[in-house]
């Protein structure tokens, strides 16, 4: 916790451009840490205190040994978090080894004269050095993180070695964001691995990774990534400010952080993007956004997130731009389908049957003749059962999930029609709606949209098309009034220059999108070399070699 505050203040000092309001929050939290206790010189006393304090930590191992057969010392580590082999071979073995040179052997006082810790660290131990401290709390924290503590008799200090080893799963293809064309590696739970995935793609010194801890008890390691020289410092400092005021006992997942730093908590729409994909994170960083990663969560948070981002996938950018634009259009249609179709159906059936062709209207009236409910109720029931089905298939064991979902859709739909609970058209509408809602790449945005159709159906049942339009006005207004880290949620469509269109409704060719999004106010807003655009436009009209020739002349 202290860390983020320190980070935030340090960052503000580095970028003094913005008005520096005095951060008043820095005091107060130190009161939580009760009086920093120091180690004492006696090893036995120290060990006794450790064992007293950690009596219920069952996997704590205290290994006593004599350094070079002379000075008694102790290693403390947690078996569950440490690399046992490294401890044995890298720490214990060298420590126990006798002196190499005979003169050292003779020199009885040597161990008293030199700083034993320095000697041990520099000459003996193979493991990476951690930290040297005499403070109880610090050492305890290190121990709990999987480091090995070395205490030596006669020193009121301890040193730690990095022996942390946590079981982790391999890097797999991200489950939530499948792509056709794109990399297959996704984030996993370990922060270090995730950061390495990012660094590996972004091998520049400008990539800044600020780390700190969040959660009073979990002390989850949190990293804020941005690219120095691209990301707007004000944005970065705002992210840090919001992180620094989080005060909670534990961060289990990135979703916890998301809820504390988003702009408008009571809104169905996600205002922060999350992704499992490293390439997507890197692309966002390059646009000038900021990514937040937390240990223990395989999702990175990306801020600011605008509405259109939830409808873009990473392979939009790898595919041909015409096709990608078309796909985006398809997604937009699917979105509109999933939100408006049921409510439009209800209002046409109950309020405006004149909109249908006459013979079709007569036929629909026939199809509905046996249905006991009004259209609104009928659609609501069907939609609700569809949602139940969807929710159930997520929880079902994978073996039977696939089979059951097909059975569910086919059988329930068919049975509902033949039982006279719903008309065949309703089943078609509900199926279209559900399918449509799965075309949205981002799960959280898709589910927001899916849930919003329920109020719309009710509005349609109460006021027909007028109700639908009022409801949609309400929703759209809400979206217009939303902000994500100071950027209006729909900014990309409302951008002052219509440049915003190039990466929203369509996906322009990469050589066309020469600027970073203007709403991010990036420090360096050009992405490609001067003249790329014209060179590529020329390519359309001239053969490649001709275009080249002309360019060299210029």
């Amino acid at each position: 916790m202290l860390d983020w505050k320190a980070n935030y203040e340090a960052f503000k000092k580095k970028h003094p451009s913005q008005p520096s309001e005095s951060p008043s929050a820095s005091e107060g939290s130190s009161g939580r840490e009760s009086k920093p206790r120091q180690l004492v010189a006696s090893l036995e006393d120290n060990l006794q205190s450790f064992q007293n304090q950690m009596s219920n930590v069952t996997d704590l191992v205290v290994r006593r040994l004599k350094i070079m057969g002379k000075r008694s010392s102790a290693l403390l580590f947690l078996t569950s978090l440490t690399d046992q082999r490294l401890i044995q071979e890298g720490i214990v073995a060298p420590l126990q080894a006798p002196f190499v040179s005979p003169e050292q052997m003779k020199d009885e006082d040597l161990l008293d004269r030199v700083d034993l810790f320095n000697l041990v660290c520099q000459e003996r131990v193979h493991a990476n050095l951690g930290q040297r401290s005499s403070e109880w709390s610090v050492l305890m924290d290190l121990l709990m993180k999987g480091q090995t503590l070395l205490l030596i008799d006669g020193y009121g200090e301890g040193v730690s070695f990095d022996t942390r080893k946590v079981e982790k799963r391999g890097i797999e293809q991200p489950q939530t964001e499948q792509v056709i064309r794109g990399s297959r590696d996704g984030f996993i739970e370990q922060l270090e691995t995730n950061l390495s995935l990012i660094r590996y793609r972004l091998q520049t010194a400008d990539l800044v990774i600020e780390t700190g801890e969040l959660g009073a008890r979990t002390k989850s390691k949190t990293a804020v990534c941005y690219i120095d020289g691209i990301a707007n410092p004000e944005l970065v400092s705002e992210v840090m400010r919001r992180l620094s005021i989080i005060d909670i006992d534990g961060i289990i997942d990135a979703g916890y952080i998301e809820q504390f730093i988003e702009d408008q908590p009571i809104s169905p729409f996600p205002q922060i993007q999350n992704t499992e994909r490293a390439d997507k994170t890197v692309a966002s960083l390059l646009e000038g956004r900021v990514a937040i990663l937390v240990d223990g969560s395989s999702f990175a948070l990306i801020v600011p997130a605008l509405f259109d981002q939830f409808f873009q996938t990473i392979d939009d950018y790898s595919e041909r731009f015409l096709i990608a634009s078309l796909l985006r259009f398809v997604r937009l249609i699917a979105l509109l389908f999933s939100v408006f179709f049921p409510s439009l159906y209800v209002s046409v059936i109950s309020y405006n049957p004149e909109l249908m062709p006459t013979d079709f209207a007569v036929a629909i009236a026939g199809g509905r003749a046996g249905v006991p409910f009004p259209a609104m109720l009928e659609v609501l029931i069907m939609e609700a059962s569809m949602e139940i089905l969807r929710e159930a298939t997520i929880r079902l064991p994978q073996m039977i999930g696939g089979a059951l979902s097909i059975v569910g859709v086919l059988v329930i739909g068919q049975a509902a029609v033949s039982a006279g609970l719903s008309s065949p058209i309703t089943v078609v509408i509900v199926a279209l709606t559900t399918i449509g809602s799965f075309a949205t790449p981002a799960y959280n945005a898709a589910i927001a949209m899916r849930m919003l159709r329920f109020p719309l159906i009710i509005m349609a049942g109460l006021f027909g098309l007028y109700g639908v339009v009022l409801g949609s006005l309400f929703i759209i207004n809400h979206m217009l009034y939303l902000d994500s880290f100071g950027v209006p949620f729909l900014q990309s469509i409302l951008a002052k220059k219509r440049a915003g269109f190039m990466d929203t409704l369509i996906r322009a060719p990469l050589w066309w999108m020469g600027k970073r999004p203007s709403y991010l106010h990036t420090l360096d807003d050009t992405r490609r070399a001067e003249g790329t655009f014209y060179a590529n436009v020329d390519k359309i009209y001239y053969q490649e070699d001709n275009a080249d020739a002309e360019n060299t002349e210029n």
Partner: protein
């Protein structure tokens, strides 16, 4: 992080055009045909010219005080008390016209779509929606307009384009009309359509380049005016003046007449009314915003949010005052016409006094 954002010239133009392209689109062709006979298109242009003049005055006076709204600078120009009285009148003007607009909206819905729903409900629903959306600052206000602008413009363009093939050019002739136009209503009714252009006086302080506001204002008016003109041209062209006079909402009838997809989908009027709701919403949003801003300035509130809520019952009450359709139309025509004259006169007065007393800065360009 939160900086006061500014709007660009184009955005200003869009706000103006979406504000003035308002609920009157449904009945305007009938009103102008009644006043001007076959000369309706010409009189529409003439009325637009009047409106452009008022717009010119609004913009010029606001440009002299490019960092203040009308409510602040009027006090500087003509003194505290007169400004208070005048701003009270501005408030009254927008209060009454928007209340009448709400009522007209309700009338259309009750006549065409909701024949059994009480008109109070239709009015109250949009009123609450408008009032709730007014609770934000001016920048968000422009966002709303920006977003809905295509939905305001496109349905009308679509209907006009679809029905263009039914136009008989004979109906446009003779261009000066078979009857002598009634000059005053023929000029005032199109001019008062552009009442909402007054919005520029509160938008100018958040415009990036106030010096170029004139261009934006002109552009905004021209876009909407050409749509109005197209509407008049197509309704007169399709129905002829005689038939237009018999139609309460000629534009709606136009939507009723078209069929698309090989005559399979007809009765576009229900959909058209729905798109028109958006159109009404943006206009009412502007007038309600103006009303609540002016009232909060009168009461010297810092925040106009309380006022927007307080206004709801009064707005609702006044909108229910007219007893029947004819009274309503008579009343709102008087309100609009006199509102237009007053606003233009007021702005003109402010401008002249400001020039004479050398208040504010001379806009360059």
């Amino acid at each position: 992080m939160q900086k006061t954002q500014k709007i660009s010239t184009t955005q200003l133009a869009i706000v103006i055009s979406s504000t003035i392209f308002g609920p009157y689109v449904l009945s305007f062709p009938q009103i102008i045909a009644k006043a001007a006979d076959n000369a309706a298109p010409l009189m529409t242009i003439a009325g637009t010219c009047c409106a452009i003049f008022s717009m010119f005055v609004f913009t010029r006076i606001s440009q002299r005080f490019s960092d203040k709204t009308l409510f602040s600078y009027s006090q500087i120009v003509i003194g505290r008390l007169p400004a208070l009285v005048a701003n009270l009148l501005v408030f009254a003007c927008f209060f009454i016209t928007s209340a009448m607009m709400f009522r007209q909206f309700g009338e259309v819905l009750s006549t065409v779509v909701f024949r059994r729903t009480p008109i109070e409900i239709s009015i109250l629903m949009i009123l609450i929606l408008v009032a709730l959306s007014c609770r934000r600052d001016t920048v968000k206000f422009t966002y709303v307009h920006l977003f809905y602008w295509p939905f305001v413009i496109l349905p009308f363009l679509f209907v006009i384009m679809m029905s263009m093939k039914a136009v008989h050019f004979l109906n446009w002739l003779p261009p000066f009309g078979n009857e002598t136009p009634h000059w005053l209503p023929a000029l005032l009714s199109p001019a008062s359509l552009y009442l909402g252009s007054f919005i520029i006086t509160i938008l100018l302080p958040i415009t990036e380049k106030p010096a170029r506001a004139m261009k934006a204002a002109l552009f905004g008016i021209v876009v909407s005016a050409s749509l109005y003109l197209l509407l008049v041209l197509s309704t007169i062209g399709i129905y002829g003046v005689r038939e237009t006079l018999q139609l309460l909402y000629p534009t709606l009838e136009m939507a009723r007449s078209i069929a698309i997809g090989g005559d399979v989908i007809e009765r576009m009027d229900a959909l058209f009314i729905i798109m028109w709701v958006i159109n009404v919403y943006t206009t009412m949003f502007s007038t309600y915003f103006l009303t609540s801003l002016s009232l909060s300035h009168l009461l010297q509130f810092k925040d106009h949010r309380l006022v927007t809520t307080l206004l709801i019952p009064f707005m609702f009450g006044v909108s229910l005052l007219p007893q029947d359709q004819y009274q309503l139309y008579k009343f709102s025509r008087i309100a609009d016409g006199s509102g237009y004259l007053f606003l233009t006169g007021y702005a003109l007065l402010l401008w002249i006094v400001a020039v004479v007393r050398r208040k504010g800065v001379r806009p360059h360009g």
